[in-house]
Symmetry: C2
């Protein structure tokens, strides 16, 4: 099992099913995954799944909700702790990317299997996702207002930043040449460049801003 994010889920069988579903969905996709496969990974019979979850889709919804809540929390925490807006952007992107790399299995399900959710579940998840976008956009807006960043199209740049961070879940492999932290650091630098950050690059010239 790739992920420790569902440690709080009880009973034990429900958690094992959840972890099995994450792995299976990430590998094959929701529709190509069978309930037999999920139950098998959890060491149970196919029927046992339905004791803990009403449908296969409910499993996906559970994974998506917990995953999104976690990534939003990570992002929000990173933004809170940084002193100025350049540090906030760097910390936000770094933390968000690191989460998507470390939890790439969960993240892949969370980000790329949304279409398989039932309409009302989908709406709920999209609302969560919008919060991530708003946090990032807020950082960009502050930086532009304070003169630290130079961005014409804030919405468009936010969208691009989200794209960049989220897509890490698609290509990241733990056996690859970069650690989650290294990808986070690279992407934080790229984000500052995209934001037109003038104060950072050459020699540690930092102008504090609100």
């Amino acid at each position: 099992m790739t992920d420790a994010s569902f440690g709080g889920v009880t009973p034990d069988a429900a958690r094992r099913l959840l972890l099995g579903a994450v792995d299976a969905f990430a590998e094959r996709g929701f529709h190509a995954t069978t309930t037999r496969d999920i139950a098998g990974r959890a060491g149970m019979s196919p029927a046992a799944l339905y004791i803990h979850y009403r449908t296969k889709e409910e499993l996906l919804f559970h994974i998506s909700r917990v995953g999104h809540e976690q990534s939003v929390a990570v992002l929000a925490e990173a933004v809170e702790q940084a002193p100025d807006c350049a540090a906030r952007l760097a910390a936000a992107v770094r933390a968000f990317v690191r989460w998507h790399a470390e939890h790439h299995t969960t993240a892949r399900v969370v980000q790329y299997e949304l279409a398989a959710l039932e309409p009302e579940h989908y709406e709920l998840i999209v609302a969560l996702r919008r919060r991530s976008e708003e946090i990032l956009r807020g950082v960009l807006e502050d930086g532009v207002a304070s003169g630290r960043f130079a961005v014409d199209d804030i919405r468009g740049t936010t969208l691009a930043l989200m794209s960049l961070c989220v897509d890490v879940a698609r290509w990241f492999r733990p056996e690859g040449r970069r650690t989650p932290d290294e990808v986070g650091a690279l992407y934080a630098d790229l984000a500052l460049r995209m934001a037109g950050d003038c104060g950072a690059a050459p020699a540690g010239v930092t102008s504090s801003s609100g």
Copy 2:
């Protein structure tokens, strides 16, 4: 039908099936799409599909191959025509993004349904995709060598650029607030910033190539 990229496919029924498959795969994903659905969109019976294609997977392979070949061609052409390396990067990203936005239906299938391909087909497609990456990396390398760009991690930055461009296919909607050309222009500007382009106008003044 959203796409005119398969105009050369004959006979007519084979093309209609291909176009139906593109739409269906883009909407629901490969595994959630039924052969009945594809045939229905083409105005035919389920059995007719098997006159023109051996399996459902063969349809996906055909779409993926043609789509990838087109996007690589668009990218290669853009790179060839530009005079210097900054113009090359801008033109490459602009053209590549525009293709992914204009052909977002095809592009979505091409980029996000690869996992459903049979192993040998998958390998063939991945080889095509690698060529896109190499073109972009080449532009970055030239720019760094000539001193025009400032990039530490060329491979990583290439990966990020690819991510950014390709992900356009996931979120782009024709009814959204930006045209394919506008997204292309924005992303070309962002790409120059990511490359640390020093010779361009001061940060924030988006005088990108248009």
